[in-house]
C-alpha cells in the first residue's frame, strides 16, 4: 500500500509498504531517515521515539497505515522544529522557497553535521551525555518534548519523562545533567 504523510515538515510518500510494517521501518528503510533507532521493536527501549502529531510515541509500535495524513517529527528534524518553536511561528516545516533553495551541503541526513543543533542536542554534547549514541535520538525527542511542555522540570519530572528510554552506557547521570542544562539555558534565553 501507499502511505502519504508529513515528515519534518515535508510531504512524503512511501510506496509498496507492507500492511504490517511499522512507522519506524518506513522512516529508516524507505525514507532514508536512520536517526530513529531500531532496538527492541516492542516499545521497551524508546530509541525509536518520534513525535506523531506532536505526541511522543514509539515509532516501532505505530503501523505505517496509521500515519496516513499525519505529521511526524524525527530527530533529523528536531533542530528545525526547535528553531521554529523559539521563533514562535508555530508552523512546522519548510517554506516552498526555502525548500527550492535547499541543497545538501556536504552533510548527510544521518549525521546532521554542519547544521545548527537544537538546544537540547547541544546540551547533550556539552554535558557529555552521549556515549555509544544509540539511545540518544530517542532521548533527544523525548527530552525536547518535555522541555516544551514543562520549562522548569524537577529531577522527578525529567526522570519520568525519560522513563521510557533505556541507556546502557551512561548510568543516566550525564543525561540528567544535559536536560537540566538545556532547561537552564532555555530559562536564560527567555
Amino acid at each position: 500500500m501507499r502511505v502519504n504523510f508529513t515528515v519534518n515538515g515535508r510531504p512524503q510518500e512511501a510506496d509498496d509498504v507492507w500492511e504490517g510494517e511499522s512507522l519506524l521501518y518506513v522512516l529508516r528503510e524507505r525514507l532514508g531517515l536512520p536517526g530513529s533507532k531500531n532496538a527492541c521493536e516492542q516499545g521497551e527501549c524508546g530509541s525509536c521515539t518520534v513525535r506523531l502529531d506532536g505526541v511522543p510515541v514509539c515509532s516501532c509500535l505505530v503501523a505505517a497505515g496509521q500515519v496516513e495524513g499525519r505529521e511526524v517529527v524525527t530527530v533529523e528534524g528536531l533542530a528545525e522544529y526547535a528553531q521554529q518553536r523559539s521563533r514562535g511561528t508555530g508552523a512546522c516545516g519548510t517554506s516552498l522557497d526555502e525548500a527550492r533553495w535547499w541543497s545538501a551541503q556536504g552533510t548527510d541526513s544521518g549525521t546532521g553535521e554542519g547544521t545548527e543543533l537544537a538546544p537540547v542536542q547541544q546540551a547533550f554534547i556539552d554535558a557529555g551525555a552521549v556515549q555509544c549514541g544509540f539511545c540518544t535520538p530517542g532521548l533527544l525527542v523525548a527530552a525536547d518534548e518535555m522541555l516544551e511542555r514543562n520549562p522548569n522540570p524537577t529531577d522527578a519530572d525529567i526522570r519520568e519523562a525519560l522513563s521510557g528510554n533505556l541507556c546502557r552506557c551512561t548510568g543516566y547521570e550525564k543525561i540528567m545533567d544535559a536536560v537540566r542544562l538545556a532547561a537552564a539555558r532555555q530559562g536564560e534565553a527567555v
Binding site: 516492542q42 516499545g43 505505530v62 503501523a63 519520568e160 522513563s163 521510557g164
Partner: protein, 296 residues
Amino acid sequence: MDFLRPASWEEALAAKAEHPTAVPIAGGTDVMVEINFDHRRPEYLLDLTRVGDLYEWEVGEDSVRLGASVPYTRIMENLRAELPGLALASHTVASPQIRNRGGVGGNLGTASPAGDAHPALLAAGAEVEAESVRGSRRIPIDAFYTGVKRNALAADELIRAVHINKADGPQQFSKVGTRNAMVIAVCAFGLALHPGTRTVRTGIGSAAPTPVRATVAEEFLGAALDEGGFWDSGRIIPPSVARQFAELCSAACNPIDDVRGTAGYRRHAVGVMARRTLMWTWESYRGTDRATEGAA
C-alpha cells in the same frame, strides 16, 4: 495482509462483520509487538485511529463513559477525580510513549491477566459497551474476562467504550514490579471503598488466569466495617481485621510460577498490597470524614 481504514464507527462495525478475523488496532502497543516478532500474521488489520468518537469521554451523573481509545495519558490528566483508581493504574502503564498511545479498550481486548486497567475497573465497577452490526450490549466487567487472554466479545463485536462508576470514596492501586517504568505487573491490586453502599470492592491482576475480585475478602471486610460501626465512627481498622482481609485476598489468587515471579511470592505480595491499600484508603476516608465533621 489487508489494512482496513474505517473512517467512522459504522464503517468499523461493517468491516468487522465482513471480516470477523480482523484484528482491531488502535494504540498498537500489543498488536504491533506481536507483528514485529512474527507471533501473529492477521489476515486483516482494522485501524480504529480514525474513529474520533473512541477518543472521547463523557462524565455523567454516576459514571464516566470512557471511549475505548482514550490514551492513558488523558485519563491521568483529566479523570483523576472521577476515576482515581484507574488514573493511578494508568500512571503505572509502561512509559510516557506507551501511555500516549494505549488505552483501556486495548487492555480489555487483549484481556491479559497482567493488564494494568483491570484491577481498577473491577474495584470501581464497570460495564463494557460492545457493539456489532447486530446491536449494542453492555457486558458487566465481572463477566467480561473468560480465560487467559480471552474475553466475552463475539467475533463481530468491537469495544466502543467502558462505563466506569464514578468514585464515591477513596480508591487505590498497587503494583509489584522490578522498577517503576516499563514493568509488566508481577501482580497488582486495586481497592475501592464505596461508603454510599458501605461496601468494598477489589481487583487482582496477574495472580490468576484472569483478572479477579476477592469476593470473600470483600464480604468479610464489608461485614466487619458495618458491624463495628466503622463507617460512622471512622475509627482505625484493627490489625486483626486488616490481617484477615489480606489473607482472604491472598486466598483469592490462583497464580502460577513464571519468569516474573513464583506463585508463592504472588500470593504473599497480593496480601501485602491488600493490607497497604486498605490502610491508605481508610486513612483518606477518615481524613475526609473528620474534615466534614470539623466543618459542621
